[in-house]
Amino acid sequence: MRTLWSSAKHFWQIHLTVALCTAVATGVLAGALIVGDSMRGSLQDITLERLGNIEHAIISDRFFSPEIISHENKVSAILTNGSVVVPQTENRASTVNICGVENSFFELWDNGDIPNWNQSSDQPFADVVINQTLQKELNVNVGDAIFVSFQETADIHPEFLLGNRDATDVIQRIRLIVSDIIPTENAGRFSLQPHQSLPLNAYVSLPIIQNELGQLNKVNAVFSTDINPITSDSLTITLETLGLKINAYENYFDLQSDQYLVEPVLSESALSVAQANDIPALPTLTYLANTISLASQVEDNNENSTNTIPYSTMLAIPIEDSVFSDVNNSTNKEERLGNLPKIILNTWAAEDLGAQIGDKIYISYFSVSADEEYETENATFVLGGIVPIEGFWADRNIIPTFPGIHDTATIADWEPPFPFDYSIIRSKDDDYWEQYKATPKAYISLEIGKELWQNRFGDLTTIRMDAATDNNLQNTRNLFETEFLKKIKPEQIGFRFLSPKADGLNASTGSTDFGMLFGSLSGFIIIAVALLVGMLFRIGVEQRSREIGILQAIGYTLVKIRHRFLIEGIIIAGIGSLFGCILAIGYGQLMIYGLKTWWLPAIGTPFMNLHVSGWSLVFGALISLLVVIFSIIMTVRKLGKTSTVSLLAGKTDFEKTDLLIKNDKTSTKVNRFFFIYLFLTGLICSLIFSDMLFEEDYISKIVNIVFVLFGISAIYLLLYFFKKLSEYRLTLNVNKAMIFLCIGIIVGLPISYFPLGKTLSVKLAELYTNPLFIFFMLTSVILAMGLLIFSKWINTQKANEKLTRVKLSLKNAARQPSRSNTCVMTISLACCIIVAVGANRHDGVPQTEYTFVAESSLPIHQNMNSPDGRSELGFDENDEVILSESTVYPFRVLPGEDVSCLNLYKPEKPQIIGAPDTMSDEMLWLNIADENELEEDIIRAIGDENSLRWILHHDPEESYAIQDESGKPLHLLLDTVNNSLFQSQLIISEDNFKKYFPSQSGYQYFLIKTTDGYQESTSSILEKTLSDYGFDVTLAVDRLASFRAVENTYISTFQSLGGLGVLLGTFGLALVLLRNIIERRGELATLRAFGFRRQLLLRMLFLESFFLLAAGMFIGVFAGLVGILSLKGNLNSLPWYSLSITLLFIFVFGIIANAFAVTLALRSPLLATLKSE
């Protein structure tokens, strides 16, 4: 131990450098892991902060009474999205979380204070509490008034015929007074959405928002602090919850919906329950006909005839049922009129039209088109029966409530949401209304009714049920209600049971593992450090050659000496790695500082704090220690190749012995290695190409065999070339090697026919065709070849009789081949990585054909491309002139998590958007509407490749599973786009969107194309006029730039770390130079003696280091460029500017470092070394 201490003291410089290098390796690796810890820890902190004690939650698309949840410690709320406008300043904020809460909500946080709700008691307006983030956005103070807009609730879906789509009906706008501003922490940071950005929150008293929404005592969210999850069992679903009601009558009862149409999931369940319990059920569908007339009149263009019945209720019933057998048999002209469907008119209508059985009846009705316009459709029937207005045919109860129509005294009082022509109402129509109200005038078969009027919101309006066999009506009703409610799963009707804390903590692992990211980015630094330590230790051992010689001379065995050096190295590296742990914390802190400042775009919000895990330190220290120890072992192993006498003489040049001795043993070893390597290569190639070799087609077979033979000969030539290159060091038996290659191929072929071999063959073929694999293989091969050629050049310098100063300088690089090779290897590796990574950087302004990307907090139903639609949205004539220069592409949006690199949390439920059909003309890639050859639960979708691969961690080749609105699994068959505007979401077709997410209404995501010169005005008009919708317009190039900024920041981070690696490589180069010069003092002194001036020596030495730097950079850059060429197919998109700057920086830095080393080394007097005394 004492001797170790003495040697440590004596050779302190070299030991200190080794320890420092180990410390750097530990610092970098453990520091990278600490960055990962900090990212995870900080995201967890945010999760805990934004959720307080909330463990579980129920969120629902529909409002419900909190009483239906039998769970303790629950807090109810209404959560909705909206926008806020300050009337005085017109400052706006969109995507605001509007929370209708009570004080108990704030008590969900341990240290959460109850905000002041009573600031404005003297005001007629209610209070609102906002968080600081929203306050900054709006620039308001306590006491200021703000307008809060949010979506109005409506029983009937806005996109249904009877739904309201007008802004005044869809948007609720209330004036509130800011009573308190709370910090954006704890309750002030509340959000169920896992995202690192600060939310814009407005808190309104729950009763006020309930009142405004017309949902008294109802909520749409319930939170629980109980550790036990809220399950569907704790939810008691009622008919009211489902928006259903049962109207009981003397002989039957009707199931109807507040939404007019009974949702498909509910109607299907009701019918199946009825069937299962022998309850006779009559499903019906009511619709409104705009006109009913005789087809003959229409054909005569006599539409305005008095014999046209306007605005009539029609009922679709299972007319084929035996209960309607009377009317069913009364047709006698059906065959004569072809296969027209039957219609039954009541006597009033038949008389009014003068229609007789067998006449063709024409009806017109409204439907809602894809772009939410009313379109008049028509259908022709044959009159199959005329029924008196009595009994079932006089029952108006079967018709559900028509909003704006049902309770009116006369037709003139109707206020329907659709276009209504009062001029065609006749007095007899009013008489009918007065006497029969909405009693249907016409009946068609349910099958035809569904065909004409079915939509995504449902295909039945009333299910009429009679008493079950052997049961009375009341019992039947009770039985039905019980069984029906039992059958409905809350998840089917839009209830979501969340465990936000657990999910949030899980998502905190992050979409990107920053620990692994920085760790892998630091991998290069670790390699550089390992090479450097190996080199340093080697220099250290060389310095002590006499000591080794003496130890050998006095009887120490080589093993003992190696052991001694190894222990010494381990102790030094151990001390270094301990110090490295401290360095790691500093490095981690520096990286976090970097992420909060220089690289902020990578994380979006400067939220990160240092979190240090002991495991990270231990892991980092151990790995770097192992790498360094391995490096030391490899160096110490070389001891013994030099004779004791040489060592005693201070001759330590391992290089020379390596260089000069053609060691048969080494040669045999290398040959053996090559034989095994080539055998395996043959085996793998055989497995990969086995399918190709056994093609059915005879010509293909021959071509493939020729291809394989060509490959073998290429390998032969390569080996021959390699042998030529390496002849100075080893004797490679090329012929034997080729035999081993062929054996490998022959052995591989039968293996590929066994199941395991086949699997292996498929996997290898996949790997073989993976562009990244090809990239890595290609760059590795080029790097290896480049280094081999350099090594060959270094080792086989021929005598040059035309010696020049430049040649003299370059040859100096061959003075210590191993050191020069190490330097070139480190630099080339660094440059290759920097080029490969830097090639992905996007310089310049991103290009997109769209001018704007817009998002609205509330859905917009109007067609923004039509003057009518724009007028409905409130744009005036001046706006119209400007907006007519734009084309808007609206997308439907299913709320979900951002899957772009802007979200650091690991997304579980991606945002889905429905692309309109018009986009398929715009985007040739948009073939998502093509449903050919797809199974029922599989639809096409498009996602950004980077988002899928790196954020969702999903292989785009495989389908992505989501759930539709009723909780059924849906598989997305993915196509990918690159660097598009759609990095935050997955795209499906609008038709599929409406099919699988029927309750989502309107459009919330827009792409806008605007003529040049109108951009500023368009953006301003849209944001101002649609402020209640929270319409937020962003330049499309800015959106792309924000995505690119993240990518570019990652690249910058990588390049910074790569730069650090280059720094170490350059440091190594300078060290090599310094060491070489010190060793060559005698030689340099000789040159001085022969008249070489100091300046000339400086220049020569500098040229030597320049050569090593340039050679390393050239090999690395070349390998990187070829790799990129293989990956991208061209170098057009290469960011030459930034890449050149980076490489130039590396080059200049290397030159400066080398110049410094040369100057430092030549400062001490050289000539003293020449004296013999």
């Binding site: 020379k656 021929k798 009789e801 010696l803 061959a814 022969f1090 001036r1093 013999s1172 005394e1173």
Partner: protein, 233 residues
Amino acid sequence: MNEFENNPHSLKVSQLTKDFGTIQVLRDISFSFSDGTAIAVTGPSGSGKSTLLHIIGTLEKPTDGHVDINGINPFTLTEPELAQYRNSAIGFVFQDHHLLPQYSVIENVLIPTLAFKQKPDHKDQAHELLDRVGLKDRISHRPAELSGGERQRVAIARALINKPSILLCDEPTGNLDSTTAGNIVDLLFEIHNTEENILIVVTHNLDLASRFDNHLRLSDGVCSIVNANENQS
């Protein structure tokens, strides 16, 4: 060609003194030699033999006194001039040959010709010199592949490539066995006789010294000249 090359060969040292701190290594040394003179410098270790050689070779400056080589006091020259002067007028052979291991034999010989740009092509001269030192067949070999004697022959060829007027040898046979050493000395004399330059050899070997016409013996920094007869005794 340069201004230092065509002067007649002469060496004049007068009242030369060299101090290293408080230690005086050389004291008041004076001598003078001309063309064709071969001088052996002997003396015990630390007597200042190498220092004297280095001063004559202009590698070190004297503390006091004068050195006149070919009529020029080199220490009055500027650093670049001195380097050029040394390059053309002085050849060195060291005990440790100081050949550059990464270069071949011929490259090592040619190295001094690269110190200044105006030098003509010396390839033929290098070949001729290597022929003279008996290494014609080893021109492509590296120093590590040569024996000690061969290395020293290369060093001699290198020292002569610029046709120096003074050839300074510092213990040229110090690391060699007696036979090889004898061969080297023979070679030195042979070349000296042909070139007619001034040959100064520092050596411990009195037998070797006895072969020189002139013999400078250094002791305690003082120089005494011993004649040939005395040498023989």
